[in-house]
């Protein structure tokens, strides 16, 4: 089983790296790294670092408030936390602009009070959008950290009147924050559309933009591959650094639990928790509400082709979820450096180069139209893998710690151990990972633009095509559908993992 895990990790790395090499081979190697490239590298790292810092630092008080407060709508808020990350970028950006844009809610209010309006565009706009995407994700990651602190410890701390923050929460955060930060950093590192749309100009150019230009306009594949390798190296370095500093924190399961606490009754902490929850609630709910408001009226006018496209998207999502969880399970069982690399590479690699490389590799063998949906499902699964690993690893460790001895005693090894011990014990984490992969897959445009034909279009592709044909209202309707489907699938898998999953 360990060997299977290593094998799968190597397979994942191969799927990520071989296309990069294929692109490198197809072009002439061009090692010039000009002033514009250095500027792009600097901006890429700067925006990713700032976005990570804000996402994670803000996530701490929010996750703490969620961990220790019970209130109406808590479950719904936690489900909604999954929404921004899985939204197609263009949809999320539209939602954000409806709130923070020149004509958005915030500026309308400022204008009404006679105050000067503020511009979202530029470095801070990019950071704001990345925080919108990743703060909720960071909250979920850290919330897991709180869930892992046993209830008895809070009781002990309360009975001895010891400071909970110093004694319990800070050590947990020191273990959980580097891992959460690494995931967010990797996501921001490869940002393309957010940086370009909200960056305000070429000063906000990321490496991914330079890669896009190299492939699309210059057809300089060697240069594209070199840039992609630089980006990959930055990402893997960040992931390794986080791995050195972090003890793995869990991501799945136990989110619904509110531990009884004795240190939270003061008015001051109540006001602070309320403030953070309202803040993240507004940041989340307002843009999402805008997506819903704009999409709802167009729902009746959607072209008939939307339904088969939806069917294809759901099918791709289910396959992506299955592959992601299947690979994740074995790689998590293996652990160690293969898991670290397999969990970082899919996020750090350039989507443009990955798609182009896969095209180069597959085109001689199979028609792009045939490969479109399987390749999309596979690549979506790979993006879900880092999250699956973060959820499954600790869940497996916990199951082994509690029941591994009994399984040894009964001679449960290999698949019997998987069936009787591991799988039943990690079901919530499995459901969570599958839900995340499925939801992400629904909203991802991915490589399908490179492969698809008319007959095989998915929902996000259809949305982009509608936009390209001036049909912004119908596109908004599809965006609403995407949001609903994403959340619905996540909810379905996540709940499925919890039903009858008693301790």
């Amino acid at each position: 089983m360990r060997r299977t895990g290593t094998l799968y990790a190597v397979l994942v790395l191969a799927i990520v790296l071989l296309p990069v090499l294929a692109v490198l081979r197809a072009g002439s190697v061009n090692l010039t790294f000009g002033a514009a490239d250095w500027a792009a590298l600097r901006f890429t790292i700067l925006q990713a670092a700032l976005s990570t810092m804000f996402s994670v630092v803000l996530a701490i008080p929010v996750a703490r408030a969620l961990a220790r407060r019970r209130f109406v709508g808590r479950g719904a808020l936690i489900t909604l936390l999954g929404a921004p990350f899985i939204l197609p970028v263009v949809v999320a950006v539209t939602g954000l602009l409806a709130v923070f844009g020149r004509n958005g809610l915030v500026n309308s209010m400022l204008d009404w009070f006679g105050l000067p309006i503020v511009s979202i565009y530029g470095l801070w706009g990019v950071v704001l959008a990345h925080v919108f995407f990743n703060l909720p994700l960071a909250v979920r990651l850290l919330l897991q950290g709180w869930a892992l602190i046993p209830a008895e410890r809070f009781r002990l701390a309360a009975s001895m009147n010891l400071p909970v923050w110093h004694l319990l929460e800070w050590p947990m955060l020191r273990a959980a924050v580097p891992g959460a930060g690494a995931v967010v950093f990797l996501i921001c590192l490869t940002s393309f559309a957010v940086a370009l749309t909200l960056g305000g100009g070429p000063g906000a150019t990321t490496l991914e933009v330079a890669i896009y230009q190299a492939v699309r306009f210059d057809f300089d594949l060697g240069r594209a591959a070199v840039l992609a390798i630089v980006q990959l190296l930055v990402g893997l370095t960040a992931a390794l650094a986080a791995w050195r500093f972090a003890i793995n924190g869990a991501l799945g399961g136990g989110l619904d639990r509110v531990v009884a606490r004795w240190d939270t009754a003061q008015l001051r902490t109540r006001v602070a928790d309320g403030f953070w929850l309202c803040l993240v609630g507004l940041l989340l709910v307002l843009p999402l509400a805008m997506v819903v408001l704009r999409g709802l009226p167009a729902l009746g006018d959607l072209p008939a082709a939307v339904w088969p496209a939806m069917g294809r998207s759901v099918l791709v999502a289910f396959c992506a979820a299955a592959i992601s969880v299947g690979l994740g399970l074995f790689i998590a069982l293996r652990g160690g450096w293969p898991a670290t690399f397999a969990g970082a590479a899919p996020l750090a690699v350039s989507g443009m180069v990955l798609g182009t490389g896969l095209f180069l590799l597959l085109f001689p063998v199979v028609s792009p139209a045939t490969a479109a949906l399987p390749v999309t499902a596979l690549l979506n699964a790979l993006v879900g893998l880092p999250f699956a690993l973060r959820a499954l690893g600790p869940a497996i460790a916990t199951a082994e710690a509690a029941h591994g001895r009994l399984a040894d005693e009964l001679g449960l090894t290999g698949f019997a151990r998987m069936r009787w011990l591991i799988l039943p014990r990690i079901r919530p984490a499995l459901g969570f990972s599958a839900g995340l992969a499925a939801a992400f897959s629904i909203g991802d445009l991915g490589v399908i633009t490179l492969f698809a034909t008319e007959a095989g279009q998915t929902l996000p592709l259809m949305m982009y095509r509608l936009m390209g044909a001036y049909r912004m209202e119908e596109a908004a309707g599809v965006a609403f559908l995407l949001l609903g489907l994403s959340l619905g699938l996540f909810w379905l898998f996540d709940k499925g993992g919890r039903i009858n999953a008693e301790a």
Binding site: T94, L196, T205, V209, A452
Partner: protein
């Protein structure tokens, strides 16, 4: 009854696919919005298949730039017989790729310029223009725009053909002074988007006073939505053009059919579909003329266009100029 009906239709489709096997297939690579169900694709396909005795299959791949990049990735092994939707800014690169064969189409084009290219057949064209709201302040030149406080959204020349078009527009109008104009435009630019769709969407949401698009864009709102509130700003420097072309692949296994299709492109059956599906001017105005509504569009007095090789030679330097001016 129902079962028999099913069997019958299954039999029919078997017959149909047997018939298909003998029908020659003409594969046309084009950009997404051409082949999609609300683009010209379906009507063009139906009209051509009426006469050709063939199966016309569109393969849509992203935008114009993605189209050429895909053909270069596939190289000589491509299944494409025809490529439809390259634009003038890509022609030098397309010619250099050596993937295309000369055509034999002769037509009397209604283009603002003479068209004599031996490889590429133009099928539609348009002028780039800033599209804004009717009744609002409208500058009369690029210079006036740069000197105003108006806000615009443009596309990135490194990822989008309209973005590249604006770059060439400024270069054609201002030459050595292009960098200065860009510097002065910098404070008007709200943001630079990766593609046309994002920019146009942001304009419709009220994020800017105008967006870089085409002089024909208001026709969509007028004809499809009966909304006359969008106008294109006529600029004194003239307007840069985009001509979209088709070509035959050198390695096609259906050379006669491909020639037939290229000839069909300049006929009324194709050209009459273009204005209200692709929202561009037809390369050759069909007998029935342009649809009602097109007469309201602005008609620039001066058309700007670099020759393909010249545009290619200017591109890298112009992008760097643009980047430097806007990165301040």
């Amino acid at each position: 009854m129902k079962t028999r009906h099913l069997i019958q239709s299954a039999g029919l489709s078997l017959l149909a696919s047997a018939a298909m096997a003998d029908t020659p297939v003409l594969t046309v690579y084009t950009y997404d919005s051409f082949s999609s169900e609300w683009g010209p694709g379906p009507a063009v396909e139906a009209a051509f298949e009426e006469t050709c005795g063939c199966d016309l299959q569109f393969v849509g791949t992203g935008d114009g730039a993605a189209l050429l990049s895909r053909l270069r990735l596939e190289g000589t092994r491509t299944e494409a017989d025809i490529v439809l939707g390259l634009d003038t800014s890509l022609l030098a690169a397309a010619t250099d790729s050596g993937l295309f064969a000369p055509h034999s189409v002769e037509a009397d084009y209604d283009l603002p310029i003479d068209w004599t290219d031996e490889t590429f057949v133009p099928f539609d064209w348009g002028w780039f223009a800033f599209v804004g709201n009717a009744g609002a302040e409208a500058p009369t030149s690029l210079r006036a725009l740069a000197d105003s406080d108006l806000k615009i959204v443009i596309q990135d020349p490194r990822s989008s053909t309209p973005g590249l078009g604006l770059l060439m527009w400024v270069k054609a109008a201002y030459g050595e002074e292009a960098a200065t104009l860009w510097s002065d435009l910098a404070d008007n630019i709200v943001t630079v988007t990766p593609g046309w769709s994002e920019a146009y969407g942001m304009f419709l949401e009220g994020e800017a006073d105008a967006v870089l698009s085409y002089t024909t864009s208001p026709a969509y709102h007028l004809i499809a939505e009966e909304d006359g509130s969008k106008v294109a700003w006529p600029f004194a420097e003239g307007h840069y053009m985009q001509i979209e072309v088709a070509a035959k692949l050198a390695g096609t296994d259906q050379p006669e059919l491909a020639d037939q299709f290229l000839a069909f492109i300049v006929s009324d059956g194709f050209q009459s579909v273009i204005p209200t599906t692709n929202w561009m001017y037809p390369a050759k105005v069909p007998a029935e003329g342009l649809p009602q509504g097109f007469e309201t569009l602005i008609q620039p007095e001066q058309s700007l266009l670099f020759e393909a090789t010249e545009a290619e030679a200017l591109r890298a330097e112009a992008i760097e100029e643009w980047r430097a001016a806007l990165s301040q």
